[in-house]
């Protein structure tokens, strides 16, 4: 059975949930082969990948792979595509994942599909486009199918894989070393789950009114072990950092539960959260368009409703 390459997403040596989802999807399309790029590989990482069905693990843990923007990972994958002739390549549809997929597609003369929310036989991918208004099925017509899959597109299912390790050395080209990362600036907000991967997301918008008031949103998020998101109005105003922006020009999320507080629901925002499974809305304006997509909505003042909700959730724990 042909291999399906899965580029592993990892932070501080921990395998991220989206990779387990991709390994699960890969299983129905071939033999899942995890590709570890960059430092941090460990026995714990190996065990995790094995638990979720990796038959092979290609390990390219040279420091320089993560020392430059995107291109080294694309070169690594291109080498594996050439050497191993996989049935396809899956990456997480993060901003960087999509860029890796794009460069890999050029290098291997292959088609690429971005933001898949499902994947079936023949690498036919489901996509949700135009802010969730149209569902599309697409496929790659030439080369090795490369698909960037959105986090939360599949439930990870554990099944043991052989996890045979193979070291991979890549001689990076000069072109791959052209954009050098000289410093990583971390602006993390506590130990919350990552926005695109979280099962629950609590977002605040214009109605939150200030940076200080985002503490209310954070408290509610923490009561649900959720990630915090923000509308563009809130990030434009500087109340919350840009990387937490949900919407058309920010992150696209599809959690089990999305709670929108003080967000009117312009198309710009809806495009980034419309495929969430359950949507709860708190807004004082009964006419806010966000209520159109709410499973449950409360017309009211978020400064009353959010603290009460947080308290009720804490009580039920």
């Amino acid at each position: 059975m042909s291999e399906v390459l899965v580029l592993v997403e990892h932070v501080d040596g921990d395998v991220k949930k989206v990779t387990l989802e991709l390994l699960t999807l890969a299983r129905s399309l071939g033999a899942p082969a995890a590709v570890w790029a960059g430092p941090g590989y460990s026995d714990a990482a190996k065990a995790k990948l094995a638990e979720y069905g990796a038959e092979k693990i290609y390990v390219a843990d040279a420091e320089e792979i993560t020392g430059y923007v995107v291109a080294p990972k694309a070169e690594l994958l291109a080498k594996l595509v050439a050497d191993k002739a996989p049935a396809g390549v899956l990456v997480a549809a993060t901003a960087e994942g999509k860029e890796i997929a794009g460069r890999l597609a050029v290098k291997t003369d292959s088609g690429v599909i971005t933001d898949a929310v499902g994947l079936g036989e023949g690498f036919v991918a489901d996509q949700s486009i135009f802010g969730g208004g149209v569902n599309v099925r697409s496929r790659v017509a030439k080369g090795t199918p490369i698909v960037a899959v959105r986090p939360n597109s599949a439930a990870p299912v554990a099944t043991a894989g052989a996890a045979a390790e193979e070291k991979v050395e890549v001689a990076l080209s000069d072109a791959a070393r052209a954009a050098r990362i000289v410093e990583r600036v971390k602006q993390e907000k506590g130990a919350r789950p990552e926005l695109t991967e979280a099962a629950v997301v609590v977002s605040g918008g214009r109605g939150v009114g200030s940076a200080e008031s985002f503490a209310l949103i954070e408290k509610l998020a923490d009561s649900l072990d959720a990630a915090v998101g923000a509308s563009r109005a809130a990030t434009d105003a500087g109340w919350y950092p840009h990387q937490f922006q949900v919407g058309q020009t920010g992150k696209t999320v599809a959690p089990q539960l999305y709670i929108a507080a003080g967000i009117s629901g312009a198309i710009q925002h809806r495009a980034g959260m419309q495929t969430s499974k359950t949507i709860v809305v708190i807004n004082k304006d009964a006419e806010a368009p966000i209520f159109e997509i709410a499973d449950y909505g409360v017309v009211g003042d978020l400064f009353q409703v959010v603290p009460q909700l947080t308290e009720e959730i804490e009580k039920r724990k």
Binding site: V298, G300, Q308
Partner: protein, 259 residues
């Protein structure tokens, strides 16, 4: 500095956007065409860099005849001239063919810096900057929230999940921008009038040495199998807060086993 800023005309997100039933491509007649929003930030950044370092800003767009509206907007903001890559053979091009065609045009125009928005509001693939950098063999400085040029050195702050990366490279380079980078200017009346006199060169595929067998719908690397309007969400329960709104949501969440 010779700066080329790539802009795209997209259907207005405020109108209903559709795919054509005949060839499954974007229905450009169904919605009003507007400048892709992030591209306005790209134009602004290009103009700011020109103001600081001198040089010239050339607008490059690929699209049907209607896309001249988009060119005029960028020229009205202050760009110096434009190149419109337009050819029936380009219709239905996917990201790979588009990046190929744009790269060919960029080679013909020549550049020290290419600036573009980090994604378009229609296809939202977010891959063009990466593909252009790959095809042109120049540094990929994408998702920039800050750009600084100093002689032939260029540095950006690249948006990441955890904050940002400081990235350094040398010109020539490809930069894609996110919307926190600047505040795009509005075209002035004077700018709008001046734009009408600025040169716009139209290139067909032969002019840009683009092979016909690498572009267009028939040669695309990916294809739409089928599509359908998303089923509407079932109407939810909306209640007015009577002092117990938070408690009511908690009950709803409990009924769904979230708490």
């Amino acid at each position: 500095m010779n700066i080329v800023v790539c802009v795209k005309q997209v259907p207005d997100t405020a109108t209903e956007r559709k795919l054509r039933s005949d060839d499954k491509t974007l229905d450009r007649d169904a919605a009003d065409g507007v400048v892709n929003e992030l591209d306005e930030y790209a134009v602004e950044e290009a103009l700011k860099l020109k103001e600081a370092h001198g040089g010239e800003v050339t607008v490059l767009t690929m699209g049907p005849g209607k896309a001249t509206e988009t060119i005029r907007k960028a020229l009205a903001m202050g760009a110096d001239k434009a190149v419109h890559l337009s050819d029936d053979a380009l219709h239905g091009s996917d990201a790979l063919s588009t990046s190929y065609a744009m790269a060919q045009a960029l080679k013909k125009i020549g550049f020290d810096l290419v600036v573009l928005g980090s994604e378009s509001t229609d296809a939202r693939t977010g891959v063009l900057a990466a593909m252009l950098a790959e095809r042109l063999g120049v540094p990929q400085l994408s998702l920039a929230k800050k750009v600084e040029v100093n002689g032939s050195a260029i540095a950006i702050e690249r948006l990441t999940d955890y904050g940002y990366d400081k990235v350094e490279a040398s010109l020539p380079a490809v930069v894609s921008v996110v919307e926190k980078i600047n505040e795009p200017r509005y075209p002035s009346f004077k700018g709008i009038m001046a734009a009408k006199k600025k040169p716009v060169e139209t290139l067909g595929i032969a002019d840009a040495e683009i092979s016909a067998d690498q572009v267009g719908l028939a040669n695309a690397w990916s294809e739409v199998v089928d599509f359908a309007a998303a089923p509407p969400r079932a109407a939810g329960t909306i209640v007015k807060d009577e002092g117990d709104g938070g408690a009511k949501i908690a009950e709803f969440l409990a009924s769904k086993k979230f708490v």
